[in-house]
Assembly symmetry: C2
Homo-oligomer: 146 residues x 2
């Protein structure tokens, strides 16, 4: 073996290897979906995020968003108007996860097929012909985020 990783800690998360750190901040049931949607759409409000995840509860979504914010992957901006507007977008590290998520999605689709599962119905989130793009806001030279 080429070596082993020592135990480290960052933001209350213990990890050995960098995969583990990455998985600990991006993994789980909802976080990849949140990050993926923000990557594609650029900026989303709570209600817009919720619409894309009908099975999540408000409480659970709020918790996921807070963790993502604490871990520095998303930014929460409050606009003081009536009613107050709250918008979420990706930070620099957060947008760095987008290509990983896209590759993971493509891998999952191929894996499902190779394992002989029923094909995903048309009209689902996954359309093999559509290449997901990071929102122009996050592109090099695009509109500044802060």
């Amino acid at each position: 073996m080429s070596g082993t990783c020592a135990m480290k800690e960052l933001g209350g998360k213990k990890y050995r290897c960098f995969f583990e750190l990455a998985l600990s901040v991006m993994g789980g049931k909802w976080k990849p979906i949140i990050l993926y949607h923000l990557g594609e759409k650029g900026v989303l409000r709570f209600s817009e995020l919720r619409r894309g995840m009908p099975e999540v509860t408000d409480r659970m979504l709020t918790r996921q968003l807070r963790e993502l914010e604490t871990d520095g992957l998303i930014v929460r901006e409050v606009f003081r108007q009536v009613p107050p507007r709250v918008e979420y977008s990706l930070t620099e590290p957060g947008r760095g996860l987008f290509p990983i998520l896209v590759t993971m999605r493509d891998w999952g689709a191929g894996y499902e097929k190779s394992m002989g599962a029923a094909p995903t119905p048309a009209g689902e989130l996954y359309d093999a012909n559509r290449k997901p793009q990071l929102h122009p806001r996050y592109q090099e030279g695009g509109a500044a985020q802060e």
Copy 2:
């Protein structure tokens, strides 16, 4: 939102989106490390895998390897000799995860730095100057795996 994912099931795993399917088979504390080492080294015996993960117990490693085998990501080959030799290697879907793991590792290293953590000591598994390569055995046109 561009749509939502329906609940599906594959190999006893429930998932909505493909990220979730990917994370459910590759995620966790030990699986990424196992897949990564097999990707780099090609073929490894149990004892060789164990050496790279000093904190894992035999029981836990055995369990992880069985799950990876059941999920079709690794192959376990037993050579009838005395003492019997058991070798593990990646399947086609398994080797498809290698580039994802490498990107995740690089992302984790950058993320750790951006969050102001102490730098990883030299001699660790992560060497930013070393670009991990999939073992020639798994390359297009390399030795057949089966």
